[in-house]
């Protein structure tokens, strides 16, 4: 019935690249909704998240996973600020989060603000050494750890995800601003083992 239709585009058109021991791929379909606690409202937000989503507010520098719906993660990205990350559905992601947290947080859609790239494999850590100023040693950067920093002049949020089930090594999710997605990808593929 509508004459005109808008079609979505992903930042990197579904990019995938594999090399010795590492794989880079763009991740799509995950909503990122920022929730920020109001002044002195962190306690209340904490309870409501626990009640509605079964998820704990993670410590700074970490993420947490919903006990009831494992697909939902909550990443600490700023003081008094978190990103809820979950698979997008038909329903508006913002409304979905608003239903869960009500007035206990300021809600801002960030789903289109970031490019999401997964780097996995036995060479993943080595690959990051040449771009990422984060100590990814498992002793200090365990599963769920989140770090926000700079990578080749670009802002980045990196989080360690569960290892691949087949023993394929570490798995990192990297978020970087969408407008510079191509430069970000270029930075990642310039590292070993990709060396584009």
């Amino acid at each position: 019935m509508f004459d005109y239709k808008l079609s979505p585009k992903s930042p990197l058109d579904g990019f995938v690249l594999e090399a010795d021991g590492a794989r880079l791929r763009e991740i799509n379909g995950f909503a990122l909704i920022s929730i920020a606690a109001p002044h002195q409202g962190e306690g209340a937000l904490k309870s409501v998240l626990k009640n509605t989503l079964g998820i704990d507010l993670p410590k700074p520098g970490f993420s947490s996973r919903s006990e009831t719906t494992p697909d939902i993660t909550l990443m600490s990205v700023g003081h008094d600020q978190w990103f809820v990350r979950f698979l997008e559905t038909e329903k508006s992601s913002v409304e979905w989060v608003a239903d869960a947290v009500g007035n206990f947080a300021a809600i801002t859609d960030q789903s289109d603000s970031w490019t999401q790239i997964e780097l996995s494999g036995i060479s993943a850590r080595m690959s990051l050494e040449c771009v990422l100023p984060v100590d990814t040693d498992p002793s200090v950067f365990p599963e769920g750890a989140v770090s926000r920093t700079v990578l080749e002049h670009l802002g980045v949020i990196v989080t360690r995800q569960p290892n691949a089930a087949d023993g394929g090594g570490y798995c990192f999710l990297l978020l970087s601003p969408r407008s510079s997605a191509k430069s970000f990808l270029h930075a990642l593929t310039g590292s070993p083992p990709f060396h584009f």
Binding site: P60, G61, H79, Q81, P133, T149, V150, G155
Partner: protein, 95 residues
């Protein structure tokens, strides 16, 4: 340099932007009698200490916290790092 963020632990100073002396938190009252002079001193004059210096850093490429860092300007040794909002509240800056 490395700044030991009170929430996030040690972070490379490249993630931060520097502003200057932490006295910049002490913004004068706009309606005081000599407001213009107070604002002048607030904005322009500095102790510029050679030694222990309290200063403001912003975790721009991080969690966006403003921090009050106590650092020796002769050695760069950092002795304390606090969230600026905590300091501001402690110093009684309300609204």
């Amino acid at each position: 340099m490395i700044i030991n963020h009170p929430l996030l632990g040690p972070r490379d100073a490249t993630e931060f932007s520097y502003l200057g002396d932490a006295s910049l938190m002490h913004r004068p009252e706009w309606q005081s009698d000599d407001a213009e002079n107070q604002f002048y001193e607030y904005q322009y004059l500095r102790d510029n200490k050679a030694g222990i210096h309290r200063e403001l850093w912003y975790h721009e490429q991080g969690d966006r916290s403003w921090l009050v860092v106590t650092r020796n300007t002769l050695t760069h040794e950092i002795s304390s790092v606090e969230l600026a909002s905590d300091v501001a509240r402690r110093e009684g800056r309300s609204r």
